[in-house]
Symmetry: C2
Subunit: 408 residues, 2 copies
Amino acid sequence: MTDAVSPLASPFPAMPMIAGVTPRVARAGYKDWGRCDLTYVELAEGTTVAGVFTRNICCSTEVELGRENVKRGTARALVVNAGNSNAFTGYRGREAVEQIAGQVADHLGCAREDVFVSSTGVIGVPLPKDKAREGVDQALAAEPCSWEEAARTIATTDTFAKGAVATAVVDGRTVTLAAIIKGSGMIAPDMATMLGYIFTDAAVAPAFLQQCLSAANLQTFSCITVDSDTSTSDTVLAFATGKAGNAPLVSFDSPGADAFAAALADVCRQLAHLVVRDGEGARKFIAISVTGAVSDESARRIGLAIANSPLVKTAIAGEDANWGRVVMAVGKAGEPADRDKLSIGFGGIWAARDGLPLADYDEAPVAAHLKGQDVTIEVDLGLGEGRATVWTCDLTHGYISINADYRS
Amino acid sequence: MTDAVSPLASPFPAMPMIAGVTPRVARAGYKDWGRCDLTYVELAEGTTVAGVFTRNICCSTEVELGRENVKRGTARALVVNAGNSNAFTGYRGREAVEQIAGQVADHLGCAREDVFVSSTGVIGVPLPKDKAREGVDQALAAEPCSWEEAARTIATTDTFAKGAVATAVVDGRTVTLAAIIKGSGMIAPDMATMLGYIFTDAAVAPAFLQQCLSAANLQTFSCITVDSDTSTSDTVLAFATGKAGNAPLVSFDSPGADAFAAALADVCRQLAHLVVRDGEGARKFIAISVTGAVSDESARRIGLAIANSPLVKTAIAGEDANWGRVVMAVGKAGEPADRDKLSIGFGGIWAARDGLPLADYDEAPVAAHLKGQDVTIEVDLGLGEGRATVWTCDLTHGYISINADYRS
């Protein structure tokens, strides 16, 4: 956590504890930063789990093991190390993760595979095993903490703690979802993202939990980008303790399944937006709506080509309605487009329609829109029914300052 | 041309005039900038032509017509407008290009299709026809100018004039190639690039000229990137006047064909490097060598993923040997890679081999290397024989400053 808070920061929401979920934090000292950096979340017996992970080929051991373990569908604990991603550290990194899982499994009397471990921070430095052991010991003995404390403890370059909450009525009972997430740079999730954790007291069969999470992911985490760089450690896990006492959700035929899936998607969308709002150096939150594409997937790819364009992002930073750069980004996306059917707008006002600048285009209201913190870009391809919305932030001097000397 | 010259600038070389090629410049006044902005190059009868163009779907009329006309293989003139790319301007933009081609064709008594027109600058503003007509009139009556003057006149945000020269002995005669180029932002050529023009007095059949240019392009312009954004106007044209009097080159079986192809590739490499050396905000020239990939094309894609990563580029800007970010970029490239066979180095010194940080890695010489202006990154995938070198620059505050208020 850095001192200068993002101007787009959202206050941490009032988040209830979830029955069967107990977070604790400790100071392992992975970096010399005088703050807690190890988060331990104990989960009641019977908790189910689902997850989505980075597609980066050079992923961390944590991601490899998580991807494997999530197939079993059960979980008893989560450990998150901040300050060191432990990625690209070979057998030494793997030993550290196995040690942590073993230590927690011994304590709880559960299978090692029920302990999920994530790490975030610098790549290429093996997680120090001694610090990890002491940190886990401390955490196992610590008092339970608040969600906000847990959210602060999983953070690295984040400038504010990020949480989201939603409820749904399932089988006559109100179930609650509480979630925390970290991330602000190296954000271009490829069907997965960052470190995000969703906890619910609903009873949900693991396969259905996975189905809901994967679907939500496609419309949320897979539609955000800060800098086009896909992390080696991206992970989102959803845990369901079942303590709400509803009849377990096993498919969309289960009563309340739609409400639960909608609440889960809502939480994922909140979390995804929070990450963009803390994009490194971000001063503006940009929503890009693409319509008229040949398919939803094509619309998403075009949206991401715009959202990843340094020239579009610097134009928005400069409050410049430079729609020519949007045209350029559409054209380089590698997706079907027809220059002479293309329309571009800002803040709901078209600047160009059907491949031509509008003769009566009045830039004044667009300029006023771009001065705000929340900017929208509208693109209509005029080809089909495909649509998508993606979210990003502007590219400013702050991004350069943060990343030109992060490790040093 | 801006005032603050890139620290990586190269002096303009001594460039001879090419028999059959006469450059002239004029002030059309496309922008209120008190400099020449229209370049006219007259080519002798019998001149052959080849070209490569942007793959951006939203390309300009100039690119569409150029791509069509180059198939005929003959050329008599080139007109380059600076300050307005005339892209995304519909029928109004097309009328302006046709007017220019007609005006020059009437003057020379040649086919309109033998007049090649390029435009560079802001997207989405139709090229003003009255200014174009006056500018062409001026240029047709102007005294011939130097290559350096022509190179300055095709430039926009460039900070220095860019030229390259090479010679080859063909059929017992020395042929000369002289070339100019502009470009510093919106540079991520997709099999083509920017605005570049190569002139030679060699006699070369158009099909063979195209073969040589396309091959050279793949190893030069297609291997550079400044900001991952592919322009709507990228064009490289090669013109051969035949005035050297050699027996025309028609294939690699023609005497001297290898020498000519090598000289052409040399000029293309020089031009490509000059563009990177003028990358917007660039302070370091970065060469990325990828070896051990499954194919040359796979190596090139991995190299470009590294070269386009904002996190790698900011790390180099900060003189930080953050090889973890290189690992990340390899992993997100979408190409075959095996984390545990991957090796990463800087300045010829390995930091990690076979998926592990080197135990005896000494960062001091690497840190010294990164303080220089010329930085190399070595990546070995350990999978096959594929190799490629790509070139880029670092990402600095200068890029943000230039692009957050270019148009305004």
